[in-house]
Symmetry: C2
Subunit: 190 residues, 2 copies
């Protein structure tokens, strides 16, 4: 398994600023850690919000901790179902991205931007990046060998930071296209 | 474009038997052609049914003409959202596939099997198969070069028949994973 990379499927989720958290859940509210994620310090929260688009709405969990910008990560299936635009972007690159409304138990936030479909990517700690021979921002392809829907994902961005742990992230559309369920692994093909 | 193959995205849909059509839409009901599809004789219908699973339900169009077996083709996102199992299968291979209920304006049909996620495939007329050097049931890979989510689909089944016209069919999850919208083309890589 040493040349393989764990692939994790990110369900739709929301990152929030402190300010938006206070509006949605009330002044002084603290996010409740439901489950630690693979990336150090990141966690799925008990808190959920409703993501409202022109056509429909859906529930999404918040991922903590708070961030400098509120960001809604949807699959393209999700985005279409509620009638919002979700450009494929790297996390944090939200300028001019999609709009929606977030509704929490204590209030609402109108986002003029922040809705994206995450660009598929691999998190590397620096030692992992060295081992795999990749650099930050390098674009690679990753082969996934499932039984029935094997494929090779192109346009996979490598992200290298001491804050990261080795894992590839895809969204639910991408996971379904690869018939990826349970613990699956991919292999970089350059 | 001569070495490229048109890729069409199949939204969720239902094929029905004459018997089930009569139950769902009333005795003697004829399917209404809304739009001819790329495959000769196949057409999208005005008629829609509700596909009901244990968790939720969704609307799906019927594709005509009637078939010997009722078959519900969902994306895996759809299947999960309504709580049904949809094994990845070739069209017609419904034995032991997923269960659901279909509801039409005149009646309901309980399907003990028939729900599938379509295995990605290419329809070839015999002359096209010869040109591309493939045989019926051969499994190939198809490269899709979109801006941002390029990929190579593996496990693509070639289906050859004089009844077919050249086109590859993927579902909405697969289209989203490839950022495929509008008219897109793929290239067979063996």
């Amino acid at each position: 398994m040493s040349d393989k990379i764990l692939i994790e499927t990110s369900a739709r989720h929301v990152h929030v600023t402190k300010e938006h958290l206070a509006i949605l859940f009330g002044e002084g509210h603290k996010l409740t850690n439901k489950k630690d994620l693979s990336q150090p310090g990141q966690f799925a929260c008990e808190e959920k919000v409703t993501v409202v688009g022109p056509k429909n709405s859906l529930k999404a969990s918040i991922l903590g901790p708070e961030r400098p910008e509120t960001q809604v990560e949807l699959s393209l299936t999700d985005a279409r179902s509620i009638g919002v635009v979700a450009p494929v972007r790297e996390s944090g690159d939200v300028a001019g991205s999609g709009a929606c409304k977030l509704v929490g138990p204590c209030g609402e936030v109108e986002l003029t931007e922040g809705v994206i479909a995450a660009k598929r990517h691999i998190h590397f700690a620096p030692a992992d990046a060295e081992k795999f021979g990749v650099e930050d921002k390098q674009v690679v392809s990753v082969k996934v060998d499932t039984d029935g829907r094997s494929l090779i994902f192109g346009d996979v961005v490598c992200r290298v930071s001491p804050k990261y742990a080795l894992a590839m992230h895809i969204d639910t559309d991408e996971a379904n296209a690869a018939l990826a369920s349970g613990e699956i692994y991919g292999e970089i093909v350059k």
